[in-house]
Structures are given as structure tokens and as C-alpha cells.
Amino acid sequence: MKVLETGRGELFLRPDPAADREWLRRNKSWALKNKVMDEKEAIEKFVHDGDYLGTELYGTVRCPMSLAREIIRQGKKNLRVAGQGIMEIEVLIAAGLVSKLDLTYLGYEVLGLSYVLRRAAESGQLKIVEWSNAALAWRLKAAALGVPFLPVKSMLGSDTFNYSAAKVVECPFTGEKLCLLPATMLDVGLIHVHRCDVYGNAQLDGISGFAFELARASRRLILSTEEIISTDEIRKYPDRTIIPYYLVDAVVEAPFGSHPGEMYYLYWRDEEHLRQYLEASREPQTTEEYLRKYVYGVKNNAEYLELIGGEEKLNYIRSLAKGR
């Protein structure tokens, strides 16, 4: 297959499925082991300086915020980040921990642009490689398939392609041009789920975003969960398990772990807190003050939940969640 074009963006990690196979065989376990730990231990153990890290879902929805805050407290540096997350990625950038970003979209939709991204990009501090939403998800899918790339019909002809690390080839079957997306096998993935057991068998409610793909494209996978349920309960509904335990390295119990984001059927986005954050994020100094208060100023998720308003606030956002 002849390569016709190559995007000029940096490929943060060369796909190497053969090495991944070896690594996964050596490091993943089918043993039913209790993986419950607190967020401090999970981040200490499984996130390292320089890691290639990814998060799921998107925007201010089902985002692993409690884990992101712990990464900031532990000051894990020089992270390469791939993701469609908004707030959890933005706070990592705001804390100065991200050196390179596989970016598709970072903004707040109807609430406007990201001040943090603007400062980081316009100052040239943050190295950004462009992708589309589907491209990032399909790159994870390629890694989940155990192959080095996936051919697609998106991104062709655009500057999004030109500033990506994708390639264009001629299809050996049809002769048409295809965009090849390099597989992304992350060092560590973070996913916030509705429930799982102590081994990490996890269930999600609502749209599954790209949790299925990211869980299978992460060497290490940390789950934070709204609740831990019994394995008997999992066995009653095995059809609901979209992330089976052998993919999982740590289970962190984190009720309201997506705050200020929403969690389908459980609680609604905390508009008041989100707007407060966005206001603070306008200037570096106020951003720093926000982080000092809400991230560095608390030891863990439980303290954070007290700080943002405790039971009263949590009941309120719970009352706004729509049922079925």
C-alpha cells in the first residue's frame, strides 16, 4: 500500500500491537481479585509522569472528575492526553500537567469557548494534534481490535487531516483513497461508570459514548464508580457488563464523581458550579485560586463533595435528573 499523504502532526505513540500483546499477557489478569482502592492509591499506582492518558465520556457528561482532581493533587507531569473529555482534560491543562494533546474539541458548546485551551494554545505552550471525534474513537477501536490502524472515509482533504498524524493511502481492493488512523493504545484510561463489582465488572446506563473502545485500548484502566455492587447482581445481568473485570486495574468508589458534570439518570449538571468555574477560568490567577480551593484544598472526593455544598447541593442536582 503506497502512502500518498501524511499529516504533519506528531504521532505520540507508534502503534505496536505485537508489543501490546506481550504486555497485556504479562500484566493483565483473569484472576478474580478485589481491586477496590481509594483514588490516591489508584493514581499513585497506575498514573505516571509522561503517560499517554485518555478519558471518557464527553463534555460535562459522565466525566471522571474525581480522578482528574487526584492526578492534579499528585502533580503527574508531562502527560500526553487523548480524549474528548472537556472538563477533566481542561483542569489537567489548567494545572500545567499536559504537554501534548490529541484534540478533537475542547469547549463548552452553548456556554462558549474554553479560556484555558485558548491560553495554552495561543501561547504555544501546548502541543496540539488535530483529530475529529470519530477519528479519536476509531483510533481507540483500532487498538481494541489489536491492529495498528483503521481505514476510514473521514478527515480526507481537510486541514484537520493535515495537522493530524493520519495517512492517506490507496485502497488495495477498491482503488479509492482512504484515511488511515493510527491505533491509540493508552498507558492509562479513566472511565466513570454507574456501577461495578469489586473486580471491575462494570455497567453503564444511557449512551455508552466510547467506553467500550477506550476500556479495550488502555493498558491500565482505572474505573471510578457511583456505587459498588455485588458480583451476584452482576451475574444476574451479565448482558449489561460492557467492561469486564480483566480489563480493569483499579476500582474507586466515587459517588457524584462526575460533578460538576452530569451522570445519566442519577444527577444533573451543576450549572451553578460550572458557571462559577468558567468565570474563574477567564484569568490565570483566578483559575489558580479555583484549583487551590477545589482541588489542592481537599484530600479526596468526599471532602470535595462537602465543599461544593454537601448533602443539600447533592440532593438538589439529584432532583433535577430526568428519569426514563
Binding site: 465520556l57 474513537a137 481537510s158 484537520t160 483513497k177 482512504l178 449512551i207 466510547f210 452530569e262
Partner: protein
């Protein structure tokens, strides 16, 4: 009946969609346009959100394209790969887009103004826009109409329109028969010439002149001999928008 510019945009955008088809919807105006279409001429328009919501009734207006309201009372709560792959297989008819800049071939920029690595302004980036613009059959862009946005050349092609002219999409490898279909602005409704792929004025909005459209466009538009005038929002359209679709006035 009095109406505001957002209400006009929503009404004109909603009239572009046919019944019993599918549309990729983003938050904001496209969502309201789809909701209005469903309540008027296109009750079986299937709305698809890029993170997996399929067939929502849009009874509650989503704040985020991955938010819970994108699949409230929907027909399926699926995944990003599933819906993007449906578009890649040719199943999604319309896709809605927007951006900071658009050029005469309908290329869109929502990434940067200035140099990519040291931009003057950094915008959010493609998100699903590039996929929608690459894979949906017909894309509809919703834009504010002024010379800063309607430019000769976009700083960055985030989402491909007709690129640099006839045949360019196909040459780049994009699926045949896809591309920009309509541009809905506060001044006019625009389309694209079948042969040259240049942007073409189709109709002006109520009270707007062809001259005003030209003055606010930073490139030469094709102006046909006869330019229609868009009908203003009807009282029924406005009632639906204000009382049923967005009673909390979140967007309008």
C-alpha cells in the same frame, strides 16, 4: 408577528429538512430547527446525536451533544462509533454545521485564526464537524452573515466543503455525492451551484436586499436573476417554538 433573528434562523433551517430522513444534530439552533421540523412538516425526522442518542422526541432541550437529554425518550441509546459508522455507510441524510469562517466552497473553520501552532485565536476544534461534513449526504451550515465570517479563504479547513472546486471532494477520497447543501444565515438562504460548486444566493430574508447580502460577503456570490424572499416565521411556528420547544427560553 414580531420575531427575533434566532427564531428566524431556526424556522428557515427547519424548512430545509424532509420527513422520514435522518439528521445529525448539534446543540443550539440545529436542535431547535429539528424539533420544529418534527412538529410541523417532518414528524418522522430521526434526530441523531453524535455520542449515540437516536430518535429523541426532543421534548427537553439538550445542553450538550452527549448529555442525557439527547436520548431522553429516544429509540436507542447507542455509541459514538455506532452513529458515526452509520454516517460512513451512507445512512445519515443531513448534517448540521457551524463555524467561525466559511468560504465560497462551503469549507468551514472552527479550529484557529492565524498560524496553527501559534494561533491568534484558538477555537474548540473539529469535534464531530469534520465527520459530519465528510460523511453525511447534505450538510447545512448555520452562520452569522458578515465579512469576517464569509471569507475568500478560511484560515483552516476544519470541515471539508467542496474544497477548491468541482471534483475536489471525490479526488480527496471523500464519499461521492456528499457535500454542502444549504447555508442559513441571518440575511439569506444560500446553496451551491451544481457545476462550479460556488456558493449561490437562493433567497433573502424578509426585509433584506440582495445588495446587503453582497456587502456582507467577503467573496463573490452567484446571484441568480430571480431571488426569492423567505417567508417570515409563521405565527404557528413561533407559537411552537415559544410554547412547546423552548418555553424556558434557553436558546431563543
Amino acid at each position: 408577528m414580531e420575531y427575533n433573528p434566532t427564531e428566524l434562523l431556526i424556522c428557515i433551517a427547519s424548512r430545509q429538512m424532509e420527513d422520514r430522513t435522518s439528521a445529525f444534530i448539534g446543540t443550539g439552533i440545529p436542535m431547535l430547527a429539528a424539533a420544529l421540523a418534527k412538529k410541523t412538516h417532518a414528524p418522522e425526522l430521526a434526530v441523531v446525536f453524535e455520542f449515540g442518542g437516536i430518535g429523541s422526541l426532543l421534548e427537553l432541550l439538550p445542553l450538550a451533544v452527549g448529555g442525557s437529554r439527547t436520548f431522553y425518550k429516544a429509540l436507542a441509546a447507542s455509541s459514538i462509533c455506532d452513529v458515526m459508522e452509520a454516517a460512513q455507510r451512507g445512512l445519515i441524510e443531513y448534517g448540521f454545521l457551524g463555524g467561525a469562517q466559511i468560504d465560497m466552497y462551503g469549507n468551514l473553520n472552527s479550529t484557529v485564526i492565524g498560524d496553527h501552532d501559534r494561533p491568534k485565536v484558538r477555537f474548540p476544534g473539529s469535534g464531530g464537524a469534520n465527520d459530519i461534513g465528510s460523511l453525511c449526504w447534505k450538510t447545512i451550515s448555520i452562520m452569522r452573515h458578515d465579512r469576517r465570517r464569509f471569507v475568500e479563504k478560511v484560515d483552516f479547513i476544519t470541515t471539508p466543503g467542496y474544497l477548491n472546486g468541482p471534483g475536489a471532494r471525490e479526488k480527496a477520497g471523500l464519499p461521492a455525492g456528499t457535500g454542502p447543501y444549504r447555508v442559513v444565515t441571518d440575511l439569506a438562504l444560500l446553496g451551491f451551484d451544481e457545476t462550479s460548486r460556488w456558493m449561490k444566493l437562493l433567497a433573502v430574508n424578509p426585509g433584506i436586499t440582495v445588495e446587503q447580502v453582497k456587502e456582507n460577503t467577503g467573496f463573490e456570490l452567484i446571484i441568480p436573476d430571480k431571488v426569492e424572499e423567505n417567508a417570515p416565521p409563521s405565527s404557528e411556528e413561533l407559537r411552537l417554538l415559544r410554547e412547546e420547544i423552548d418555553p424556558g427560553r434557553l436558546y431563543i
